[in-house]
Structures are given as C-alpha cells and as structure tokens.
C-alpha cells in the first residue's frame, strides 16, 4: 500500500501550522527587544530521569496475539523552558525489555525483545487562566516521533517488526501550582518544622493532525533476494494522512521545587497509537513512570 494523494492536504496543513507560528513572531523592533528580554527571563531546565515502562502491543503483521511486558529501564532526557506565558519542551525517551504473549512456553517460545525510542518537541503558549489566576492553560504545536522495534527470531525472516510514528499536531497543557506553607508540628515525640513547599501539577495531552507511519511491508519482509534492498525503505513501508495514524499521548507530571531552583519530577506517561491501513493493523499502549532530576541552569 502506498502514500497517495491524501498526503498533499496533509503537507499543506503542516505548512499552515508552521507558517502560522512564524507569522505570530513580532516584526516591530521594540517588540523584538521586549521578547528577547522575556526569553532571557524564562527558566531553563535540563532533566534526566529513570523509571520503568509497561508496553502492550498487537501487531497483526506477524501475530494476532497481545504481547506485553515490563520494560526496565525507561530513561528520559529533557530540556524545558518554562515561564508563565511560554513552555517549550524537548524530550527523548528510551526503554528496552522483553514482551510475552499468553502462549509462551519457556522452553520453546522466543521472547519478543522490545526497543522503544521517542522524540518530542512542543512549543506551548498560554491561552487563558481558569477559575484562579494561578491555573494556566497552554496550547501549541508539537512534533512527535516514536519508534518501537521488536525482535523475535521465532518469525525467522520476519523477525524484525517495527512501528515508527511521526506526527505534527497540537498539545494542550494545564498547570496547577500548589504548595504548603511553613509550619511546625509534632510527630510522635519529635518537634518538626516543615518548610514552604512549592509544587505544581501538570497534565498535557497531545494529538496528531498530520501523521505518517513506517511499518513492515504487506508480507513483513523486504525483498532480500537483492542484497542492496535488504534494508531499503520503500513506499510499501509508509502510510499517512490527516488524523491517522492515531497517536494520543497523555503526560501527568508532578514537579517539586527545591530551594536552589532545581526540581524533582515524577511523571506518568501514557501513549497509545493505532494504525490500520486495511492490513497488518498495529495497536500499542505504552505506560511509563519516571522519576527525574531537573536542573535549572539559568540564573533567574
């Protein structure tokens, strides 16, 4: 199956999204200077986290069975620019592990080894406050690519199956800062003091507008009787369009602010994608819990 004419409106919409973002840039010199100062004032962070993930996948290219498993470690690296008006995030995630089906017999079945890699960039603008001034709603474009490679030698020549989702869409984020005031209290026989604690909870939902997927061919293999084509990517591997393939991502994060400006972050990520071009349907659900150290590296 090949990409067809429906990709043309998708490309036009992608250009529109990018063009609209560029058009929003100020042209006035004074405004540009003001923007420059605002950019300098934004908090900039670098985060490194580790945790675990749980993956479920049904890939009808090779099997009707649900493969699932805990994939540890899950590693996340992120760059965050944060202010009241703008949030920019670039994140890279990786996880590795083994997936099993319901039929696995240890002495016979080969494990499905899973490699997950994701890159994501979003640029969010504050849209409005909610009931209280401190609750902010952000909205903006997002570019997202995630690749899931699975290796199972049980399938012989079809041992390598993969889903590489690529999309441009929108991301919506709600941020709710909260905290605890300093207080003194007694616990058992101890007198304890609690400092001011600043936290914020955020929830971000990302959905695609234009996306395309890289998948194995209809028969799962490349035409390896020609050595030059063994790893070639052809139009038989790709399919895309408006709103499909579908990829939804939900990210809930709890930030805990330290007194030196650094942060601890606890995140729960859920990513679901579904692709059915009429054959070899694939569905995948990805859950990850990650604890990160987030270092602030500007002086504000």
């Amino acid at each position: 199956m090949k990409m067809n004419r429906k990709i043309i409106p998708c490309i036009l919409i992608a250009f529109f999204i990018v063009g609209a973002s560029l058009a929003a840039l100020p042209h006035d010199k004074l405004k540009r200077e003001q923007r420059k100062l605002e950019r300098k004032a934004r908090d900039k962070y670098l985060g490194l986290g580790m945790g675990g993930s749980y993956i479920k996948v049904i890939d009808n290219a090779t099997s009707p069975l649900l493969y699932r498993g805990l994939t540890i470690p899950f590693v996340s690296l992120g760059y965050l620019t944060h202010s009241e008006k703008i949030i920019k995030t670039f994140e890279a995630d990786f996880s590795f592990g083994e997936l099993k089906s319901r039929t696995e017999t240890p002495w016979y079945d080969q494990r499905n080894t899973s490699f997950w890699l994701a890159f994501r960039y979003n640029h969010l603008f504050r849209v409005r406050h909610f009931a209280k001034p401190s609750i902010n709603w952000y909205l903006g474009p997002e570019i997202n690519t995630n690749a899931h490679l699975r290796v199972n030698y049980k399938y012989e020549n079809s041992a390598f199956t993969f889903d590489n989702y690529n999309g441009i869409g929108f991301s919506s984020r709600i941020e709710l800062p909260f905290g605890y005031k300093a207080a003194a209290f007694k616990f058992l026989f101890m007198n304890l003091k609690r400092r001011d604690r600043n936290l914020w909870l955020s929830w971000q939902l990302s959905v695609p507008v234009v996306s395309w997927m890289l998948r194995p061919t209809y028969v799962t293999i490349t035409n390896f009787v020609d050595p030059e084509l063994q790893s070639a990517v052809t139009t038989d591997h790709t399919d895309g369009g408006l709103f499909v393939p579908m990829n939804i991502r939900s990210q809930t994060e709890l930030f805990y602010e330290l007194h030196n400006g650094n942060l601890f972050k606890l995140a729960y990520i859920w990513n679901f994608y579904h692709h059915d071009p009429g054959y070899n349907k694939v569905q995948s659900a990805f859950h990850a819990v990650c604890f990160s150290f987030v270092f602030k590296f500007n002086q504000n």
Binding site: R102, N157, Y218, S250, F272
Partner: protein
Amino acid sequence: MKKLLTILCLTAFLTSCEKILMEKEPANDPETNFQYLWNTADEKYSFFEYKGINWNEIYNVYHPQITPDMNEYELFDVLAAMLNELHDGHVNLIAPFDISRYTFKYDAPENFDFRLIKDNYIGWNYRITGPLVNTTFGRNGQQIGYIYCGNFLEPIQAADIDFVIASLWHSKGIILDVRNNGGGDVNNAFTLGSRFADQKRFIYSSALKNGPGHEEFGDTLQVYMSPAGSYRYTGTVVLLTNRGCFSATSLFATAMKAFPHVIQVGDTTGGGLGAPAGFELPNGWGYRFSVSRTLTPDGLNWENGVPPDVTVWNNPLHELAGVDDIMEVAIGIIIGKES
C-alpha cells in the same frame, strides 16, 4: 485539592480507555487457528496460480476435519497436511513438539556422495577455508580446481574467497560443487557468485506479494550481480547441482546462468526461489511460507527447480566403481576447453 483530583481522574480515565480501544485477542480453539492459517496463506502465499493450487478446494477438504474437541497433536496433523498441499519446501508449521515439512519426492537419485569425491577425485588433503572445501587435482596433465560449498548459512568472508580463488588461479577450470547445499543467506550466495562474475549482469527479477489477490504483486525489481573483490575467476566454471540444492542455492544457480563462462551440470535443483516470511497462530505456533516470486531475465519461473545446461544423473553402478558421472562430465568440459 479538588482540581488536583480532577486532573488525576482525567489521567486515569484516559488510560483506562485503552481497554476499549485495543482489540481483543482471538480465541485459541481449533476452528480459529484453522481459519487464521487458511486466510493468511490465502492472502499472502505467492505460488497458487503457478502451481495450479485451488486453495478453496483444499479448504473444503480439510475444514471438515476440524472438531472442537480435537487435541493439539490432531490439530497439528490436519494443519500440516493442509500446508503440505502447497508442495513447498519453504512451508513449515512449527509447534513445540514438531515441525512440519514438505518432503520432496526425489524422482531422481541422490547424485552426490562426498566420500566418493574424496576417495576418487580430490583426495583427503583438501583445504577447508571458512565454509569452502577447496583443492586442485590433476587429470590428463591438467590442473583442475575444485570448490565445494555445502551451505550458505555459514558466512563466506572476503578473505576466504580471496584465498580460494588465488589458490586455484592457474587451474584450467574450476568445478564449483553446490550439490546438497540446502540454502541459507542470500548474501553469502552473492559473495561467492560475484567472484565469478565477468561484468555486471541482470540475474533475476523478484516481486513481493502486496495484496490479498493471488496474483497481486508489487513492483518487479531487477537484480544484478557485479564483479567484486580482489580476486575473481572468469575462466571455465562448471557448476554442479542436484535436487538437494534449495532456496539460496537455487537463486545462486539462477544467477550463475547469467554468466557465459559458467556451465551448470547435473540435475535440476530443488527450487525454492520464493522468499519465506514467518507468522504466528492464535495458539502460539509459528508458520512460514513463500511470499515472493523470482523470475529469470527471460521471465521463466523456476520455483520447481533450476534446470541444468547439461543433465547428468549418476549411474549407481558407476558410483559403486568410484565414478561420479557428473564430475566426469564437468572434467570433460574443462579439459575440452581451449586455453
């Protein structure tokens, strides 16, 4: 606090939607496994038309044999028998307790005895360079090179073939024996074949299935073989084949036919030019079958075997006397060629 809980509930609600979004696995019962196997083969196997197989008729023969209370061994026997109707050595059903295979009915003798070759032609003092047995032997005052490649599974390194070609460089001709080579990695076939290539030549074309129709194939790709490596031999090469040559070896024989200085002697190969892909049934059993077809530059389909240029069968009486008729014809071709 309320807002905190709202956000957390939204998260939980969204993630629990995946139970609705993800499709359910199929049942694991004999009927479901049969339907799955028959349908996948129907959509993706590549030789129904070529072999004149009526897959619907085969459904009618085997489906009545499926009962809800049959055990896994009985189910395996029925599914294996159904797959064997494809008459294809690249078709297997793989269960924890057995692997089905199509047993080729050899309407021909084995046509190969390596002990006979060692006792009467090359001796026992041959070299083993990687997967390549190689040596020279004399006949009528001429030196004849001999290479035996018993499989394409083992990697053939450039250094291996460099050494072998260099060793046999001054031979009047080379006998390249691939009898009983059941195949392996196509890359190894190309590594070996490119050392006998005189120039870049079109060796075969190939197409993958890309739709459920029996004749729905994708773009046909033309495959070429070019000379490669530091050492190449473009003198007389006699390629020896028998029915035990299958899969990558049949591709190798097809490729060698493109080169005018290579002559194929012996028996038709076992075929197997289709590339197999692997799948899984709802009960976890693996299975594989051919999903592509390969054609010669003239458009011929040699899935059932690559025919030799010179057909020779070994006479069993001659074999008892230590004579390999196929080798004798090969030697005759080489000695008869002008230097």
